[in-house]
């Protein structure tokens, strides 16, 4: 059994090991020991803070195997994306072109540098060891963050987004960057990522990136093809988040053209389809009653924990029956509240 819980200082070595296993496809994940330490400290302070208005908080979760306490995954969620700057993205606008005289009607896509994601909450740093073989624990890790947000809505904005790394070729060149960013930055993709340190909220972005919309038909074919395409390591989170209700078409990354998924919280299943239930003791063996898989999260902000269980359908019940192991994992007792969502 896996549990998702807030990161702790003792997780540093485990996170270092995880970072070594991740490639460039997860550019928002802290990779050096300093960066990991800083991220953990910041997360602990964020969980501990009393929050009225979402600001610089960032919450980091780890996926822990209950059997051997091994850390097999990491995922974060930030209260606001641009807390120390402006978060830039390309908005993928569609311009309708209609000429009745000429009987022409088509639509043209244009990419506009925009800063409207600045106040949204951002999901980042999602990584699961052996992601090619990941099972339901990947769903658990990805969605637990949003269950936390559903439990603590004042800590987050009304809208959420997730930037996913775009595609690069075998030489680490991004066709989207070659067609766009390079013309303004005059440097390689990886060099540019280094100077901005993976961030999208730096002053130099507004100094260098184009101020006027980029008409997509003018881009070379390979750059157009790269728009909204995800790096192979991003396929898993893309699938999980799409199931959750995120939509990919409105924004793309300004550097590599990778997809930026976004959604209003009212469109996310963790918000709209989660059910608040009370824990009841599991009956012994309940035979062959049909079972569903649920994500179950402790309904509290300060010792948030989440697991998956199989359970009889709870739609028509006020309770969910949990086994003792599940209660231990959640650090809860019978009668406590949990937030559940079918996965």
């Amino acid at each position: 059994m896996y549990v998702v819980r807030p990161v702790a200082m003792t997780d540093i070595p485990a996170l270092e090991a995880l970072a070594a296993a991740a490639s460039s496809g997860v550019h928002t994940m802290p990779k050096t020991r300093d960066a990991i330490e800083h991220a953990i400290e910041h997360s602990i302070a964020s969980f501990g803070a009393e929050v009225d208005i979402p600001s610089e908080e960032s919450y980091m979760f780890v996926l822990e195997s209950m059997r051997d306490q091994r850390i097999d995954g990491i995922a974060s969620i930030s209260a606001t994306a641009g807390s120390n700057g402006t978060y830039f993205a390309f908005r993928n606008d569609v311009v309708q072109q209609v000429s009745r005289d000429l009987n022409i009607c088509h639509s043209v896509h244009a990419l506009t540098l925009c800063s409207e994601l600045t106040g949204h909450s951002q999901l980042s740093s999602f990584f699961v060891r052996n992601w090619q073989q990941a099972g339901p624990e990947a769903k658990l890790l990805s969605r637990a963050r949003l269950m936390f947000a559903a439990l603590a809505p004042t800590r987050f904005g009304d809208r959420f987004f997730v930037p996913l790394a775009g595609i690069t070729d075998e030489n680490a060149q991004s066709p989207f960057w070659e067609a766009l960013g390079r013309k303004f930055f005059q440097m390689d993709f990886m060099a540019a990522e280094r100077v901005v340190d993976g961030a999208r909220n730096r002053t130099l972005i507004v100094e260098l990136m184009p101020h006027y919309p980029v008409y997509v038909p003018l881009l070379p074919g390979d750059a157009q093809a790269a728009m909204g395409q995800v790096h192979p390591e991003g396929e898993l989170p893309l699938r999980l988040l799409s199931e959750e209700g995120f939509e990919p078409d409105e924004y793309i990354d300004i550097f590599d053209g990778g997809p930026i998924l976004q959604a209003h919280k009212n469109a996310l299943r963790s918000f709209t389809a989660s059910l608040l239930r009370h824990v009841s003791a599991a009956p012994g063996a309940d035979g062959d009653a049909p079972k569903l898989r649920y994500l179950v999260a402790a309904a509290k902000e300060h010792n948030f924990r989440a697991i998956t269980v199989e359970s009889a359908p709870i739609k028509l019940s006020d309770n969910i029956a949990l086994q003792p192991a599940a209660l231990r994992a959640l650090q809860l007792s019978v009668g406590d509240a949990v937030l559940c969502v079918e996965i």
Binding site: L102, L204, H211, Y212, L219
Partner: protein, 350 residues
């Protein structure tokens, strides 16, 4: 002798004959009797001053006085863009610079503009192939500058001329293929024809409105911005000699350059001068013809404006014109004519 003169109602057949020689690529001079007839009417009203200056369209024909045939045509439109919007791309510069990264990027940018609205336009220049050679092309093209110098109050402060843009050997426009086609989804010639028919609202409907970095275009399209069609290069040089410059405006379809000038700074305004026709020219012309430089000489009447090239002495406000020249200009000894050296003097300081 060749005389350039104000067009007359009786020139319609001759004009149609000329237009039938033009071929494609010149949208304002098509052999369409109705269109040309309407234009001729406006031209005649322009010289008669029965319509407002900014509606006028002064057309000039070059007549071979020996045969009475029309050898060429050219025109000056009083003002463009006042009935239908007149579109160009303007090339500007944007600098993207980051001190932190020590990056300084200078980017050329295309702005869709109507900046030239209201300008006076030189247009519709065509010389019959039989008459190409010698100073004929210069006379025809430059005649308009002498007309402007004689009647500067009739024109806007700004003078423009649209030059046909660069085409590949197969007749396609690399600029159109790189830009316009994505938005118009039709062939260049089709789009160009529609604009000449005045159907311009589709430009507002289909053209990208936002400024665009030139660097987004394919290299072939970037390279031809402001370049003229190979056949147009001589015409461009003639206009540049008169003080017209490419100032960054180009055609929205083929990126051909617009040449422009302040009328007050034209060579014709600065250097043309009035001269009185001398009573006894003959002896002088015979002795010193070789030493004289060719002059554009015009009369000073709007309604029957006439102009020739003469290689005669002109000094101290007097000019020696033969009887034939005087007849061609409709002038007599003792009357004033306006003169301008056909070729510009070299500027010793530059």
């Amino acid at each position: 002798m060749l005389v350039v003169r104000a067009i007359r109602e009786t020139d319609l057949e001759g004009l149609l004959g000329l237009a039938s020689q033009v071929g494609s690529g010149m949208t304002t001079l098509k052999p369409d009797r109705k269109m040309l007839g309407a234009r001729l009417e406006i031209a005649c009203a322009s010289f008669a001053e029965t319509i407002a200056p900014n509606q006028r369209d002064y057309m000039f024909v070059m007549e071979d006085t020996a045969s009475g045939k029309l050898a060429g045509v050219c025109a000056i439109k009083g003002a463009v863009g006042l009935d239908e919007p007149f579109y160009n791309y303007r090339i500007g510069t944007l600098v993207h610079s980051s001190r932190e990264l020590k990056v300084f990027t200078r980017m050329e940018t295309l702005y869709l503009s109507n900046d030239l609205t209201g300008s006076t336009e030189l247009c519709s220049l065509f010389l019959h192939p039989d008459y190409r050679g010698g100073t004929n092309g210069k006379l025809l093209s430059k005649s308009r500058f002498l007309f402007i110098a004689q009647f500067p109050h009739l024109f806007s402060a700004k003078l423009i001329a649209e030059m046909r843009g660069y085409q590949s050997a197969d007749g396609s426009s690399p600029f159109y293929e790189g830009l316009g086609r994505h938005f118009f989804k039709m062939d260049f010639n089709h789009a160009d024809d529609l604009t000449s028919l005045g159907k311009k609202s589709f430009i507002a409907e289909l053209m990208p409105r936002q400024p665009m970095y030139v660097a987004y275009l394919p290299p072939e399209a970037q390279e031809v911005i402001g370049k003229v069609h190979v056949n147009t290069a001589p015409a461009r040089r003639l206009l540049e000699q008169e003080g017209m410059y490419f100032e960054g405006y180009v055609d929205i379809f083929d990126a051909g350059p617009v040449l422009q000038a302040r009328i007050s700074e034209l060579r014709a305004i600065r250097e043309s001068a009035l001269a009185v026709i001398d009573a006894a020219p003959r002896a002088v012309t015979e002795t010193t013809a070789a030493a004289n430089e060719p002059l554009l000489v015009s009369n000073t009447t709007l309604r029957d404006f006439r102009m020739i090239v003469a290689t005669v002495p002109c000094e101290g406000g007097h000019i020696a014109l033969s009887t034939a020249d005087q007849q061609a200009l409709g002038c007599h000894t003792g009357e004033a004519v306006r003169t301008l050296s056909l070729n510009p003097r070299k500027n010793v300081n530059v």
